[in-house]
């Protein structure tokens, strides 16, 4: 989707023609979203490896921080999903950290990967697959299919529609929140730039852009970003726990 107004992610690299050896992919473009997502993934992997080196019985400060985070995630999973579904805790922790880091990246001027509908729908589809695969694994294929006809058999189409609506609402909720904040922020920045150009002439740097948007950054990037990553993780946990019980 090409947008003329320029709120879409920048294209970092365009293959132009098919790449030798990768003809089956066709032509493709690598956007900012992909690059930043891989950056976050590498950051998380390196951080995990470094944080779990030389674990000791008596924790030092670094180990204490890591243990606090892991303990919080485990506790959240236990409270929301129940003791028997603790095997989901690592996935939920990864999801929470990935989303929290990517939403907060707007603070340092990098476009968050979650402001791209491909990222959020992809994550929501992972949740969708997890819901149904763990439902089948827990209840067996018969019990799983029977769950669609509850409480009454005529409810079958409605249940199917609500199952399909789950990943759509999950993905668009995160995307809408983050991209809404992004658009409001860029509108505010261009308005402040126009204001300072009108007052002091175009040759002075746009000084109004310096401190005024800080409040909005705290709300849209920090508060809404952390809240939405928490909500995405919580809803994933609740949906999976509902499918398994």
């Amino acid at each position: 989707m090409e947008s003329s107004s320029g709120f879409g992610p920048r294209i970092i690299w365009d293959s132009g023609a098919t790449v030798p050896g990768l003809e089956f992919l066709g032509t493709f473009k690598i956007t900012e979203t992909v690059v930043v997502s891989w950056g976050i993934m590498i950051f998380l992997v390196v951080l995990s490896i470094m944080a779990t080196k030389k674990l000791e019985k008596i924790p030092n400060r670094r180990q204490l921080v890591v243990e606090t985070i892991i303990g919080a995630v485990n506790n959240l999973t236990k409270q929301t999903m129940g003791e028997d579904k603790m095997s989901f805790a690592p996935y939920m922790g990864t999801l929470l950290l990935f989303l929290a880091i990517s939403n907060v990246l707007g603070l340092i001027g990098i476009r968050p990967p979650t402001a791209d509908v491909n990222t959020t729908i992809g994550l929501a589809l992972m949740t969708f697959v997890l819901i149904h695969v763990s439902g089948v694994r827990r209840k067996g294929i018969g019990g799983y299919l029977k769950g669609f006809a509850e409480p009454l058999a005529p409810m079958l189409p409605l249940n199917i529609i609500s199952e399909i609506a789950t990943p759509i609402s999950l993905g668009f909720r995160l995307f809408g929140n983050i991209v809404g904040g992004l658009i409001i922020m860029s509108l505010v920045y261009s308005a402040l730039g126009a204001l300072s150009a009108a007052l002091f002439g175009p040759n002075i740097p746009p000084i109004f852009q310096a401190a005024i948007p800080g409040v909005l950054h705290v709300y849209f990037d920090l508060f809404a970003g952390i809240l939405q990553s928490f909500i995405f993780t919580m809803l994933t946990m609740v949906y999976i726990a509902m499918a398994m019980d």
């Binding site: 989707m1 947008s3 003329s4 107004s5 709120f7 879409g8 609402s169 668009f172 909720r173 995307f175 809408g176 929140n177 991209v179 809404g180 658009i183 809240l227 939405q228 928490f230 909500i231 919580m234 809803l235 609740v238």
Partner: protein, 88 residues
Amino acid sequence: MEQITGRALILAASAIGAGLAMIAGIGPGIGQGFAAGKGAEGVGRQPEAQADIIRTMLLGAAVAETTGIYALVIALVLLFANPLINLL
């Protein structure tokens, strides 16, 4: 009078449509306000359950927000990725 092109008409109608779509923002406003009010009531009655109440309230508020987000997505599509222009 100047001739109005089909493209200009579609763009104008899309802008108005995006504005109209955002009327849906009323719904999440009412819903989240109701959730927050009930949450405050619950904390007032049982202050020791504050953490649980806040978590449940945020979850409910996020679900109540869904319709507003749908409206936002429709408004964004109308403004930045208009499918109607290609029908001309």
